[in-house]
């Protein structure tokens, strides 16, 4: 324990302090300033940036973001659990290949993949063509530039973040525990609810946190797939910084978002997830 090489921590610590901590403090400071006439920053202490968030227009965007993030997390959990379970129960040799397939999308830039989704989802896109060719629909569905498109994009983008921690938890699950429950008269559903789910709770919590946080602050996906009509917090913040040039208001929005995420994570940890991250 004596040889802990504290100097090894120096590079990441310095990086975090100067490239993350200091800018964050700057943003905090700016959030209490006000916008100059031509978009500059006027250093006069004010809480206006925070009070003006309580506007139905902005609250609606916060609410939509929260709602989309919750639904995305739920869908990822429902879709990711069976996938992770199948991978964890596959023969040892094949698990590596299956995990590899899960992370293969990371090989391509997220922006490129999102553009690909635009081609799939647009009115004359692949999805509509296939559905019409199969006779399920007679006129193209409007999916692109709606909440549905954003939801599809978010689920697609963050599903691997759900699958990986779930896999880690399920892979550690002793197979004989499942057999023991089965032997003790549990039906398959009961085996799942009474043994598999409680024992994979750390993975469920870790996966939910990993999907919920980036979903809430998503920017690229709603921008490209949601169009102008579906704005999420991330887009609102970008809008304030780059279009409206109201840096102080953009900063306050950022801090409210951060506080919200922090509160959600703390709630998760208090609810029993502390063990999972320890």
């Amino acid at each position: 324990m004596k040889k802990s090489f504290p100097w090894l921590v120096a590079p990441p610590a310095l990086t975090l302090i100067f490239l993350f901590g200091v800018p964050l403090l700057l943003v905090l400071a700016v959030s209490f300033a006000s916008r100059g006439t031509y978009g500059g920053i006027e250093w006069a202490l004010t809480f206006n940036n925070y009070t003006s968030i309580v506007d139905p227009l902005y609250l609606r965007i916060f609410w939509r973001s929260l709602w989309l993030a919750v639904v995305t997390t739920a869908i990822c959990l429902v879709m990711g659990f069976p996938l992770a379970y199948v991978i964890a129960r596959a023969p040892q040799r094949r698990q590596g290949l299956l995990l590899f397939l899960v992370i293969i999308p990371f090989w391509t830039n997220f922006l490129v993949r999102t553009y690909a989704w635009m081609f799939i989802l647009r009115t004359e896109g692949l999805l509509n063509q296939v559905l019409m060719a199969l006779g399920f629909i007679h006129e193209p569905l409007t999916i692109l530039f709606t909440d549905w498109a954003v939801l599809i994009g978010l689920v697609y983008g963050y599903l691997p973040f759900m699958v990986l921690p779930l896999y880690a938890a399920l892979e550690r699950l002793d197979r004989s525990l499942i057999e023991a429950a089965w032997d003790l008269y549990a039906k398959p559903v009961q085996v799942f609810t009474r043994v598999v789910l409680p024992l994979s709770k750390p993975g469920v919590i870790a996966g939910c946190v990993l999907v919920f946080i980036p979903s809430l602050g998503a920017y690229v996906t709603p921008d490209l797939l949601g169009g102008a009509r579906t704005m999420m917090i991330g887009n609102l913040i970008q809008h304030q910084y780059l279009v409206v040039r109201d840096w102080p208001f953009g900063s306050s929005l950022s801090f409210v978002l951060m506080a919200g995420v922090l509160a959600a994570v703390l709630y998760y940890l208090r609810a029993g997830g502390a063990r999972s991250l320890a």
């Binding site: 002793d174 004989s176 525990l177 057999e179 023991a180 429950a181 089965w182 032997d183 003790l184 008269y185 549990a186 039906k187 009961q190 009474r194 043994v195 409680p198 024992l199």
Partner: protein, 369 residues
């Protein structure tokens, strides 16, 4: 239904020509055996003998490729584990780590849909039976290995199954605890009167606890019988070896006169042994003598023993109540002999000494090779 289960032929478990393949290997090969109601039955064999697969077939985790399994008069084909009248005590106990001892034991009754008021007393009763009532609020991780094992037993027995399956029940315990549990497990089985089917690779365990046992190798049944039958008259050289007879001499039958056979062993000479059915002159045989039936003496006087071989003591191991000797025979074979120490220290042999190994004709067993 209940009535039909209870009558029948007194058999608890019946396997008929059961075969199970795992890929290219035949794990269980046309295995037929019958286990009687209320008996402590062991499946004994080395790893890969198919004993664990047999247990899993009985529990229902695997289905036979062919053959029939009948438990309490009911055909088990297509019956999943949760609807079989059996419970399994897992080798690693498989206690649910997120449940207390009491919750673990109550699990089976809860899944059966028993009323909560009925579950409590039965859980307490089962835990008292294994002397763990005081620890019912603990988590499995807070218990010792022996205690965990008793919880696993209680968790299975509380359901009052027709057959209790045990997979290497004492394998994970240290030696002292294992000897205690052997006795305890047998006593428990007699008290509850449930059929126990126990898988083990430990011959001593199987001999101590079982009413009857089956010796398996490569998925085939080699011999079935009481411990005494198998110990006294092993059916083959493999069974003899596995059951703990390490001393054997390979030779050829020289002559048979009535109940008496003589065997020529290269480098040793002629050995006398009781004849067995089917023995013909010239046939290769293995002469086995149980280590505890051998006598070690300093002089070559017959003293009433019909067989003797001159040996050299290679190693002496003092083991409390007995001394174990490793002896080198004239044909360079090494035998292990156990001599009780009651005779006094003066008669013990030291490594390097010459001695004579003697035994009576009746103590030898001839096995066809």
């Amino acid at each position: 239904m209940e009535m039909r289960d209870r009558e029948g032929n007194g058999n608890s478990v019946e396997l008929r020509e059961v075969t199970k393949r795992h890929g290219p290997t035949v794990a269980v090969d046309r295995l037929s055996l019958t286990i009687r109601k209320g008996e402590f039955f062991s499946l004994l064999g080395p790893s890969g003998s198919g004993k664990t697969t047999t247990l899993r077939l009985l529990a229902g985790f695997e289905q036979p490729d062919s053959g029939e399994i009948i438990i309490e008069g009911r055909h088990m084909e297509g019956v999943p584990p949760n609807r079989r009248p059996v419970n399994l005590v897992f080798q690693n106990y498989a206690l649910f780590p997120h449940m207390t001892v009491a919750k673990n034991v109550a699990f089976g009754l809860e899944m059966k849909g028993l009323a909560e008021a009925a579950i409590g007393p039965r859980v307490v009763e089962a835990l008292e039976m294994v002397r763990l009532a005081a620890k019912q609020e603990r988590l499995p991780a807070q218990l010792s290995g022996g205690e965990q094992q008793r919880v696993a037993l209680a968790r299975a027995l509380v359901n009052r199954p027709a057959v209790l399956l045990l997979d290497e029940p004492l394998g994970a315990l240290d030696k002292q605890l294992r000897l205690e549990m052997e006795v305890e497990l047998k006593a428990l089985q007699e008290r509850v009167g449930i059929t126990f089917v126990c898988v083990t690779h430990d011959q001593e365990e199987a001999l101590t606890m079982s009413d009857r046992l089956a010796v398996l190798q490569h998925g085939k049944l080699l011999q079935i019988g009481t411990p005494e039958e198998i110990y006294r008259a092993p059916a083959s050289a493999f069974v003899a070896n596995f059951i703990g007879v390490s001393n054997g001499l390979s030779g050829r039958v020289e002559g048979i006169v009535g109940q008496h056979a003589t065997v020529a062993v290269e480098g040793i000479g002629v050995i006398h042994a009781p004849a067995v059915a089917g023995l013909v002159a010239g046939a290769p045989v293995l002469v086995t003598i149980r280590p505890e039936r051998l006598h070690l003496a300093r002089g070559p006087e017959p003293d009433g023993f019909q067989n003797q071989v001159s040996v050299r003591v290679a190693k002496t191991i003092y083991a409390g109540n007995e001394t174990q000797y490793l002896l080198t025979l004239p044909n360079d074979q090494t035998w292990k002999v156990r001599i009780p120490n009651a005779d006094g220290a003066a008669k013990r042999f030291q490594a390097g000494e010459s001695a004579y190994l003697k035994w009576r004709t009746a103590e030898a067993v001839l096995l066809p090779e």
